[in-house]
Every structure is written in C-alpha cells, then in structure tokens.
C-alpha cells in the first residue's frame, strides 16, 4: 500500500540551499544522466512510455508518446521547449519547484532532450517571477560549469545548449503554439494545427513542448525505473503529482501524492476547511476546469474520474471556496480575466468573452433578468469549440458549471437587487465568525 503522500519532486524542498548544484548532487542529482547515456535514445522514450507519465500541464497527453511523434528522419534540428509559463488561475506548483530545486528541471531537460535528439532546449518561464528566473539562470550556469550541459556531456559525445527565456506577461503563452510564437519574438497568438509542433514547431522544426512538472518527473523515472513510477497512481493515471490547495482551507500549500487521491483526503491532510465554515465549490484543476461541489469530494483525482464527474483534472489546482464566497462574483472575475487575456485572433473568443462579461456584470449588479442565464449559456455555446485554442473554451467552463450548480444564487442577485454577500467575510483576514 502506497503512502498517502509520496514526496519525490518536493522531497528536497526542506533541504538547506536545495537550489544549489552541490546540494542537488549530494542527493544523487545528475546520476540519471550516465544511466540514460548508456541507453539508446529510443530506449529512454520507451521507458517514459512504459512509466505511463502523462502531461502535467493540464491536458494529460502521454509524454512518451509525444516524444515518439518527433520524426527522426526530418533533417532539421529538433528542439525541446519547457513550458514554465505557469499562469492558469489556481496553479502554483511549477513556480515553487523551480525556486526550490531548479536542477531537477535541468536534469530532466537533459534526459528528455537526449531522448528526442535535440541539441538545443529552452525553458520559457513567465517573466513575472523574478527570483525563480534568478535560480534557473544560476542552475543552468552551474550545470554548464560542471559539464552537465554543453559539449560532450559526461564524455558521452552528446551536446546540449539550454537557454532560459523570460516571457513578458501573457497568459495565452501557456498555450504551446502561442508560446512558440513568443519564443520566436512575435505576438503570442496560437497557431492552427495541424501541423502539430512535433512536426513543425519552433522555427518550423520538430519540437517537443512539455510542462515543468512532466520534465522534472523524468529523472526519477530513469533513476528508479518505469515500474516504480507506474506502481503509484491509478490504472490509467499513473505516478504522482503535486496537488495545490488554495483558498479557504486551514493549511493551503503543495501536497505531492499518487494520482487518484480524493479532495476529502487532501482537505483532511490540510487541516480541514477554515474553522466555522464549509466547502461550497472548488476547481479541480484551475479556473478552466468546470466547478465542482461538496458532492464530488470523493471523486478520485485522476484524469478519468474527474472527467466522468463532468470536469477535468487539469493542473490539480484545487481552489477551495467556502460559503462566504459569492459564486457570481467569482465567475465574473474569472470571465474578466479571460476577456483580458484573449489574444484577439479568433472572433468567437475575442468578442464572446467581451459579451460574457457584459451579461455577467449586469447580473452581478442585480440588473438583469432570468433570461440572461439562457443568454449566457447561448453565448457559451457560440464560443465553445470555435477557436484555434482552448482559452475561449476555458472561459465557458466556470459559467456553464456555476449556472448548473448554483442557478438559485444567480437569481438571488436579481431578487436582492445586487450581491447578497459581504465581501469582507470571505477574506483571509476576516474577523473570526464573520459570515455572509
């Protein structure tokens, strides 16, 4: 029986100066390189396939399979790009990972780049996390000096350059093809697919783009074996992942556990919902995943089960809201976010998110009519699935799911002539016992 929490990626976060090369190597860091270099690159891909690792950036696509799509007979250079543009609301796992142990990511980059036969790799990190960028820059510099990067790494004949690239503020660049545009020095607007990046990505060359946590999981898979990784988690959602609890819970934070743990178990570990209050609604994996309610507390947090419950596992960004929170206010704010972050390329998303905020803002002020709920759902229907990327789709998730679960609360704004909630009661610094 596996323990409830299985620290692997987070295991050195309590170590003194864990971000340094010395601390990382002391724990056996970079030892997986020699093991991988003794294997053929295809065997490294097979090991990752066998482990069952699925993308940790939200979509859950099998990582090894993605690597296998790189056409090795294409004469152009191959590229590995790490998506470190963590910005899906609620998601806060990659940033502490890169702050505490940037070398875990760098080691993962070397192994992954070797597998897909790339000689240049990039870490595209959002620009708004200065200290994380410092630690990444330092780690890369240390790795070069130690011979883990550069030419003839560990005498293997393999060479790799790694560039840390800071973004400049655009949620959309978390979408992999928009990220590539940003990395090419252009406006971050998603590309039409196909061709997929594996065939024509960065500079129209074969490119693998993976999330930080996916790449950071690779060293442990190579060191301990695919069976070790696959021994955790559920049948189709294997391994461990970092679950991020935020909001109205006593001890918010990062909890690394096998996939399939439930929110009830996680809330227990986190000391329960804040005293005197109860859970009202939550997101399983960021704001783009449909809201769930307390009736879903026992849903195993794996890709299949959360999907069957009508949402998505996403990034395991568990944002918890208690009964002091107005769901209409919460949803309006997310909608304003999507409107702000829509890149403007596709009309349904650009115009649709604008119309959604108009309709929602009116409802929130108690000025609309019940027919506006149908109007909102109709607007969602005209956005969902009609754009190049999933930003617009994500914008519809909180709206349609909140109307499904909390229709009465929308109506209460109409009968009340405005929001019936006291915004102070939901704050972290509210006086004890405050209620809506």
């Amino acid at each position: 029986m596996t323990d409830a929490l299985t620290p692997v990626l987070t295991d050195n976060w309590d170590a003194e100066r864990a971000w340094t090369l010395a601390a990382y190597e002391e724990r056996g860091g970079y030892a997986a390189l020699d093991k991988a270099f003794a294997m053929a690159p295809d065997d490294v891909i097979d090991a990752v396939k066998e482990s069952g690792l699925r993308g940790r950036g939200g979509a859950g696509f099998p990582t090894g399979m993605k690597w296998g799509f790189i056409p090795q007979d294409n004469p152009r250079p191959k590229y590995l790009v790490v998506n470190a543009d963590e910005s899906e609301p609620g998601t806060c796992k990659d940033i502490p990972l890169m702050m505490a142990s940037p070398h875990t990511l760098v080691e993962g980059v070397i192994l992954s780049a070797y597998a897909i036969r790339a000689n240049t790799a990039f870490i595209y990190v959002r620009g708004e996390v200065l200290h994380v960028i410092r630690r990444l820059q330092r780690a890369v510099q240390e790795a070069y000096l130690a011979g883990h990067l550069g030419t003839d790494i560990h005498g293997s004949g393999y060479h790799l350059d790694l560039i840390v690239h800071a973004g400049a503020g655009a949620y959309i660049c978390g979408e992999e093809t928009a990220l590539l545009e940003g990395l090419e020095g252009r406006r971050g607007q998603p590309r039409l697919r196909p061709p997929f990046p594996a065939v024509a990505g960065l500079y129209a060359s074969p490119t693998v783009i993976n999330n930080v946590e996916s790449i950071a999981s690779v060293p442990s898979i190579i060191a301990n074996g695919p069976a070790w990784f696959a021994g955790m988690g559920t049948e189709k959602s294997k391994g461990f992942g970092i679950f991020s609890l935020s909001g109205h819970v006593r001890n918010p934070g990062q909890y690394e556990a096998p996939l399939g743990i439930t929110l009830r178990e996680l809330i227990d570990l986190a000391g329960g919902i804040r005293e005197g209050h109860e859970l009202k609604f939550w997101t399983p994996g960021g704001s783009s995943t449909p809201l769930l309610t307390p009736e879903h507390l026992d849903v195993p947090l794996d890709f299949e089960s959360v999907g069957a419950a009508g949402s998505m596992l996403g990034t395991r960004a568990l944002q918890l809201f208690d009964e002091t929170t107005c769901v209409v206010r919460a949803v309006l704010r997310w909608t304003e976010f999507y409107k702000h972050e829509s890149c403007g390329k596709c009309t349904p998303c650009r115009e649709g998110t604008w119309w959604l905020t108009q309709t929602l803002a009116r409802l929130e002020k108690g000025q609309g009519t019940e027919a506006d709920l149908d109007l909102l759902l109709d607007q969602c229907d005209n956005i969902l699935g009609r754009s190049f990327c999933a930003l617009g789709d994500g914008a519809t998730s909180p709206i349609s799911s909140s109307i499904k679960h909390f229709r009465d609360e929308y109506l209460a704004h109409l009968t009340n002539g405005g929001c019936p909630f006291d915004p102070v009661a939901s704050t972290a610094f509210a006086p004890a016992g405050a209620s809506a």
């Binding site: 708004e128 200065l130 400049a168 940003g182 971050g188 060191a223 556990a257 704050t427």
Partner: protein, 245 residues
Amino acid sequence: MSTEYPVAQGQAQAEAAAPSDVLDATTLAELREIAARYPEPRSGLLPMLHLVQSAQGRITPEGIEACAEVLGISAAEVNGVATFYTMYKRRPVGDYHVGVCTNTLCAVMGGDLIFERLKEHLEVGNDETTEDGSITLEHIECNAACDYAPVMMVNWEFMDNQTPESAVQVVDDLRAGKPVHSTRGPRLCTWREAERVLAGFPDDRADEGPTAGPASLAGLRIAREKGWTAPASTLASSGEETDRD
C-alpha cells in the same frame, strides 16, 4: 557603427527624446548579445525589450527602433510585440512596481480590499505612478502563488499573505527608502534592475531567501511527521544506485 543611436524622427513628437533617452553603446551591444544567444536572432526580442525597459524605464520609440535595427525587422513589427505583452510599459514606471493580484482566488481572500486601500493610500489609479515617481500600482492576474493568497508582487518578487495594513506598510517602507525583503526571496531591487535580470543578465541575488516558503512545504512536513515516502526503487540496487526518493 556609430556609438550613438539616432533618435527616430517623427515617431513621437510628444515624447521628444531627452538626452537620457538615447540608448548608449553598451546597451546596443547588449541587445546584439541577446539576439546572438538564439538560433534565430528574432527569438531575442522579448528579453531585448526587457533590456530596453531596464535602460530607459519604459519602452521608448528609440528602444523600438534599436531592436528593429538589430533584428533587421520593421519598427512596426517590434511595436506589435511590445504592445501585446502586459509587462511592457509605454509610460515611465516607478522605482517599484506594485502588483496586487485580483484574480478570483486572491480577490476573494482579500486582494480587492488591498488594491482599494493602496489606491486610496497612494492616491493613484490602476497602472498609475505616484507623483514622486516611487511606486507604480497595478492590479495583476494570477501569479502562481495561490497558496499564499492574497498575494502582492513588488518588482515581480513575492509578497505573500498580505493584508491591507501590511501592504500599506510595504509601500511606505519602500518610499522611505528602507530595505524591504520578499517574504520568500531576496531584498528588493528596483524595477529597472529587475528588468535587467529578465533580459538574461543575472545579478548576485540568486542565493538570497529560503529554499521554499511555508505553504510550499505543507505536504512535505506531514510526510516527514508520518514517515511517508514514495516506494523504494524497483530496480535492483547495484550499490552505486542512488536513492532518489
């Protein structure tokens, strides 16, 4: 190549370049250095624009022309990029950029009240700078620190678990010239110094601050208390096998 970059004529009559607005030779050389890091030079544009902000306190017409010249693309193309990303500012930014997260979770946890209090206290609106040029206030989107909500960023460093009172204290200390530290990071530098790091020119602060903040360790602490670990490696131990879990 002239050491002085020619000021673009007619680009912005209203923003006639003061002498300090002219990019110096060092900055021009650094712009070229950034472009040379990449397989294709244009990939350097985002960090190059960060460097322009570091050198000039904002995105200037001269900075745009310089990037265009280095990359061999039009100023319009550079402008298109500079206007797309929210970290690039057309108006001068103060010594300290204060960003208050008002995305849903932080807003609900108190971010809205913090932002309101700071607007009142600093007597500025969103994306405006105090008269003394010290603080630029902006409400920002999710900055990936939700377990520390409500969160404020100063020059893109984390200020975790804020209250309206603590936020006011931070900006007052900054205006008084007192040293302020990120709650899980280094002492704060100025916005222009921060932009230089983002351009890929590291400073000496990587080793400051802790490995992780308390919330980042919430699960790990419990695992340590209970003796919970990931299972042992399934590979035969060869003696030199490193225990990674």
